[in-house]
Symmetry: C2
Subunit: 541 residues, 2 copies
Amino acid sequence: MLGLMQDWPLVCSRILDHAATFHAGREVVSRTVEGPIHRTTYAEMRRRALRLAQRLEHRGIRLGDRCATLAWNTARHMEVWYGLMGIGAIYHTVNPRLFPDQIAWIINHAGDRLLFVDLTFIPIVEKIWDQLETIEQVIVLTDAAHMPQTSLPDVAPYEEWLAEADGDFAWKTFDENTAAGICYTSGTTGDPKGVVYSHRSNVLHAMAAGQPDMLNLSSRDRVMPVVPLFHANGWSLAFSAPMSGAALIMPGARMDGEAIWELLDSEKVSCTAAVPTIWLMLLQYLEQSGKKLPYLDRVVIGGSACPRAMLVKFENVYDVRVMHAWGMTEMSPLGSVCSLKPEYDALEGDARLDIQQKQGHPPFLVEMKITDDAGKELPWDGKTFGRLKVRGPAVTKSYFKGEGGEVLDDDGFFDTGDVAHIDAYGYMQITDRAKDVIKSGGEWISTIDLENLAVGHPDVAEAAVIGVAHPKWDERPLLVVVPREGSEPTREDLLAFMKGKIANWWMPDDVIFVEEIPHTATGKIQKTRLREQFADYTLPV
Amino acid sequence: MLGLMQDWPLVCSRILDHAATFHAGREVVSRTVEGPIHRTTYAEMRRRALRLAQRLEHRGIRLGDRCATLAWNTARHMEVWYGLMGIGAIYHTVNPRLFPDQIAWIINHAGDRLLFVDLTFIPIVEKIWDQLETIEQVIVLTDAAHMPQTSLPDVAPYEEWLAEADGDFAWKTFDENTAAGICYTSGTTGDPKGVVYSHRSNVLHAMAAGQPDMLNLSSRDRVMPVVPLFHANGWSLAFSAPMSGAALIMPGARMDGEAIWELLDSEKVSCTAAVPTIWLMLLQYLEQSGKKLPYLDRVVIGGSACPRAMLVKFENVYDVRVMHAWGMTEMSPLGSVCSLKPEYDALEGDARLDIQQKQGHPPFLVEMKITDDAGKELPWDGKTFGRLKVRGPAVTKSYFKGEGGEVLDDDGFFDTGDVAHIDAYGYMQITDRAKDVIKSGGEWISTIDLENLAVGHPDVAEAAVIGVAHPKWDERPLLVVVPREGSEPTREDLLAFMKGKIANWWMPDDVIFVEEIPHTATGKIQKTRLREQFADYTLPV
């Protein structure tokens, strides 16, 4: 027997409809790529998105077609998303920070038909144009007056191209499981793989992300997504903010500390979100300039672990609440937020910071478990760590075109590739990447824990830990250290410093000093290269 | 092209799973029907609900079977809901305040197989037992020690009946559109009609209801649903509270001001919800006793319009935020909440109260429009009022067994039977019931507005306005007044008092004084009876 409730598919156009109807005059403010600050509203964005949907249809774009964007966070970029989704076409946000060859590979793999590009990224497109197999036309996100000279054929300025439609149009209707967007994983192993969001997953995810214990988004918020739309589905803010009627502040191309602060201040931003690197730049700018953050209520920090010092600075110096979060492209992306449940709400000082350093607890819609390598579930005691696996309606079940094969376990859980422990109240903390964790005598050692401990030593600038082969224990930890300028720590210094702070069997078997540790383009330690570098290294006996 | 996100049906068991996993120790506190306060947790409730699901299956209850409850708000009642839903059976909450014949009619119409009943309501069941055609067994929500003498055959105490299952059980799986619950409308016109909620509609509705601009439910809340589970799907609190990890305080059978206050105080309730009648009793108790509400943060008031004086008292005297809300059984039930968007957030005094008297704006998932009788949409100017129609995934598309026929318009909107205006920011205010509104010369006159105005006169105890036939204008308003004891207002007094405060053509054509105005069982003015009473009345010329 079925319920007798209305058939109302969860499609993304309804999010913009709701915003344009019940928060019609709410602002979307952008720092344009051309320079000036641009102001619009949800009602106006909906009108333009409808016009774009119509223009796309005239252009022959149809249900299921992919179109790429290479663009910063602006109202135009967001309106391109909604225009595409409104006819059942699929936004494909390409990360312009990838190598040009990778960008070409991804666009070809997705089979994108149109490419919407910001002025900034035209040189990239020119460079890879001959490699692009499926792009029929490039639309530059500007107007005719700002169009540059370019070698690209058949290129159109967005505003004039859009104006060819009259806007008398209605959203197309289709099943809520229709694909809405694609985002490729960065592909640290093998080729990048496409994650395909559905309308249903985007809507459900936004509803979960806005909840009071998650990002707590209301119509009184003014939200600035510094995290780019091309990074992990833009952390869903292009969906969750309009759904909750929050104003949006789009930072455009300028991502330096001063530019970010200017918008936080002049636009009275209440909630912002980005990776730690951005906040490091902002905090440095604040320190140098003596500026404050009088309007900012909370900052969402994810993408990689939030350093304790950053937490302390935001909360104690600037009175901004830190919402440590974790997620991944494959999760749409929100996996957890570290808001404080009543069990932890009364904590102060270090005890509170200890909790805030955890990545937190998931929203309704995300299930979690931790397992050993054999798939056996491990206890939630806040110590035992294992492979973190997740399940839910906004979690990937397979990649585009079946790349990577079967990715779910027998119970339908997706392996995040992270290693974590979970405490009795359901707070999860990432302790390592699964491919980095050291397996010693059947037990696991967290390289992140060892690194965090080592960088606490005053003579250490940077530290990385990798596992190296060991005849008896399979693997043992090797600590690689970049000494702080002017200091000359010894192996014995460091080991003595670490002793007693960790289990004895976690102690590194050796310490090696280097001038530099290899990093990825996004600033993470490149452990694959480090392991290659020390492939021939033998531990002292 | 479809998205590649996981298939994760929105079924209600996942709500309790989430609460039991991530808010395992969160309390559910009940004032038991037997007397003492009982404390349990979401983890324990889930264990018992699983055991019940197993027991129901042993008893032969299957997917699609209906089972009735005649019960107060307690943990047991809620666990019966989850036990039933966990095997795809359907909770049917019966309102014990209906006439016994109506109760029998409804249970027969639903075809309920089991009846779960509180001690309080056994006399009702005994009275109607011979009329019940489908009930196979009565389970009394108590233990053997508290079982009363009863003439009912094959009756079992819940606790011992439940204990026959060992609890080694898993939720059944089924489509998210499977029916989860039934609630009959009160049936002011014709027979009661069954509204059938689905798992999907209950889950989506709870996600919408918890949002910051709606009930704003978090794990730090302690929520007391004074509104009964048998009233309009219990306002969804049995879903939205566990979904958000809020503690639940269940008031049981004692609904007087003192009992309600005791729990608000001793259990540090942060959010509570009920109809104005309940809050009138509470406010009277507070005034008499001098008690305060130091822990209560907000009170949700719905079911009928919140009087302005009640708003003022809660906010100004007791520092409790009023969340005026509107909904109906057919909407699962939430239609709107009057939280303050930035446009109104800075208002103070009367201007703020004017807004708070509106029923507010809808969550994402509810679409609204107002139309004239011909279905033409009317403007959102805060003045023009029309039939309020709604659409969404938790809104009825038809009644159980097709009773009442087709209930949606061509665009899929459900006619609420209310008349309302909506302002430019999307705030809706109910001005009348569609069947009560007076149609005079093609224009509509709100009887509620006239009544509110008339009761402002110091000599008026109660007032009702009905339309009476008029040869030229079709209908004209007749004001029926119960004078305050000891006063003798005249027709001219009242009309002079009203003049200038409303449009001239809204002025009642006549005033009639009576000793009593007829009321329904729930205390609302019974306009149908009033219209019968004045069927032969002729307006003065």
